[in-house]
């Protein structure tokens, strides 16, 4: 595979070193180390049950690692200090809040100044084209619109690190394409650092600047793959198909 070297001057944002996790004697993650640049879009793929979710939960600090550490801006990651946002696989909009109040939710918890909250909410509403649904409740929206609200809610935090766990897992292909473009647009506009977990290889190639391929349990990083294809990507181009095939080959466990 041809790999061009593009000089990436962005500073390192997230530094993961020697991350290891055991549950009892079950070895899930083994000595995982990698860096994420500021504003980088990283996709994580791997075989089923290889510990992708554990990996993510270590990044959000839901689990404490057995060994190793996670640094953000050179400091040990701490949810109290660093701004982490998370998009779940299942719809997680709060049903008792309107769309705009859902977007405000995290900002209010952080007690940001009112003008700042309004500025960000208006911006997200505009970027996602959700203005007409401003006063609607999640129950009135389609699943894909609700998922957009959740993605908007995460981006509104302008997080240091945005973690997305198969956010489009439940959606059909048309909506996926639509929401993939949407997430790219938000990412470019807001400049957030994103870690996106997916089991869909095409999605990983379509979105990412870097793909982390995990191996079978205990998961290690099998390959760290630069993805320099220009956006917007053509899923039928030769390079795209090649990369997709390469990753598929890499995660085969049979």
């Amino acid at each position: 595979m041809k790999s061009e070297t593009v000089i990436d001057n962005r500073p390192v944002k997230v530094q993961v070193s020697h991350l290891t996790k055991y549950f009892g004697s079950l070895h899930v993650l083994d000595d995982v180390s990698f860096d994420i640049k500021k504003g980088e879009f990283v996709c994580v793929v791997g075989p089923t049950g290889c510990g992708k979710t554990t990996f993510l939960n270590l990044l959000t600090k839901i689990y404490e690692p057995s060994e190793g550490e996670l640094r953000i801006d050179g400091e040990l990651a701490d949810p109290k200090k660093h701004n982490l946002a998370f998009v779940f696989q299942e719809p997680s909009a709060l049903p008792w809040l309107t769309v705009e109040d859902n977007l405000r939710f995290g900002l209010k918890i952080k007690k940001l100044p009112k003008e700042e909250i309004e500025r960000r909410v208006d911006r997200i509403l505009k970027l996602l084209g959700l203005e007409e649904f401003r006063k609607a409740y999640p129950g009135q929206l389609s699943t894909s619109t609700e998922q957009r609200v959740i993605i908007g809610r995460a981006f509104a935090m302008e997080p240091d690190l945005l973690l997305m766990d198969e956010p489009y897992g439940q959606m059909d292909i048309k909506l996926r394409f639509y929401l993939e473009d949407e997430v790219l647009r938000l990412w470019r506009e807001i400049g957030t650092t994103v870690v996106f977990i997916t089991h869909n290889i095409e999605e990983a190639v379509y979105l990412s600047e870097k793909v982390l391929i995990l191996s079978n349990k205990p998961a290690t990083i099998k390959e760290e793959l630069k993805n320099n294809l220009p956006y917007p990507r053509d899923i039928a181009s030769r390079e795209f198909v090649e990369m997709r095939k390469h990753i598929t080959e890499q995660i085969k466990w049979w």
Partner: protein, 269 residues
């Protein structure tokens, strides 16, 4: 079929079907049957007051107060007791329900005692309350309070215990502290259950107040029932019963309206 409505808007509009008419008529039919039954029963035995008699007693009641309290005064007396007791029950019930629903230690500390007190009917407290507080307004309100507070506590607790994990996770990931978790996530999530508890409490309170008034009061709709019984004035008893039914139904409508106001997101499901 595509039609044009009165604003000139084109579209397919809902038409009134025979089914809609049936649904509209059925309630009136059932009331008709009830009246017919009343008519039959009262024509068989002269001891059971007829409709005309009852209506005349109603008109007389409007003119002649009982115990120097006019008819509407009796209704207001009952409603006042219910409203005061309900407000107190809402405040205390939600606070206590939250305490045991949100804090496991409190739940295991108070839970047993609460489960023991819960099945005792409010009316069983009357003797103890009477010897302690006499027969003024306060003991009546207290009895109503006991009846109203229990469903509110139960529903608040159940509502908080059944908050879905995903919403708690959302709060956690946005780094909400315990207080914010309660106020921004758990309480709103439990609100429909709490409001349902208040609805149950309202109808319970209305039943208990009438029973409490029947056991010793000088005003209130329940008192009218006792008064009618003591004076062998059955038309008065019926007037009071019908009043109880109508007010109870109105209270139900009002609480449903309040529910829609407090939980607007529930309307669209």
């Amino acid at each position: 079929m595509v039609r044009t409505d009165k604003n000139g808007q084109k579209g397919e509009f809902k038409k009134t079907t025979p089914k809609d008419i049936v649904y509209f008529i059925l309630p009136f039919v059932s009331i008709g049957f009830l009246l017919l039954l009343w008519y039959r029963v009262s024509s068989i035995t002269s001891l059971f007051p007829g409709m005309v008699q009852t209506y005349e007693r109603f008109l007389l009641l409007l003119e002649k107060p009982i115990m120097r309290v006019p008819f509407y005064g009796h209704i207001l007396a009952s409603l006042k007791r219910v409203v005061i007791a309900l407000l107190a029950a809402i405040v205390v019930g939600i606070a206590f329900g939250t305490l045991i629903g949100w804090n496991k230690k409190c739940d295991s500390f108070f839970g047993t005692v609460f489960n023991f007190i819960r099945p005792i009917p409010p009316l069983a407290w009357i003797p103890l309350i009477t010897i302690t507080f006499g027969i003024g307004e306060f003991p009546k309100i207290l009895i109503v309070f006991i009846g109203a507070v229990i469903p509110i506590v139960l529903n608040t607790r159940a509502g908080l215990l059944s908050v879905e994990q995903i919403y708690l996770d959302v709060g956690q990931l946005f780094d909400a502290n315990r207080w914010q978790m309660l106020w921004e996530v758990a309480m709103p999530c439990a609100t429909p259950a709490i409001v349902a508890g208040i609805k149950t409490a309202t109808s319970a309170a209305w039943m208990v107040v009438l029973a409490a008034e029947m056991l010793g009061a000088k005003s209130g709709v329940g008192f009218l029932v006792t008064r009618g019984m003591d004076a062998n004035d059955m038309p008065l008893v019926l007037v009071a019963m019908i009043t109880i039914g109508v007010i109870g139904a109105l209270l139900g409508v009002i609480t449903s309206l309040i529910e829609r106001l407090i939980c607007p997101w529930m309307r669209i499901k």
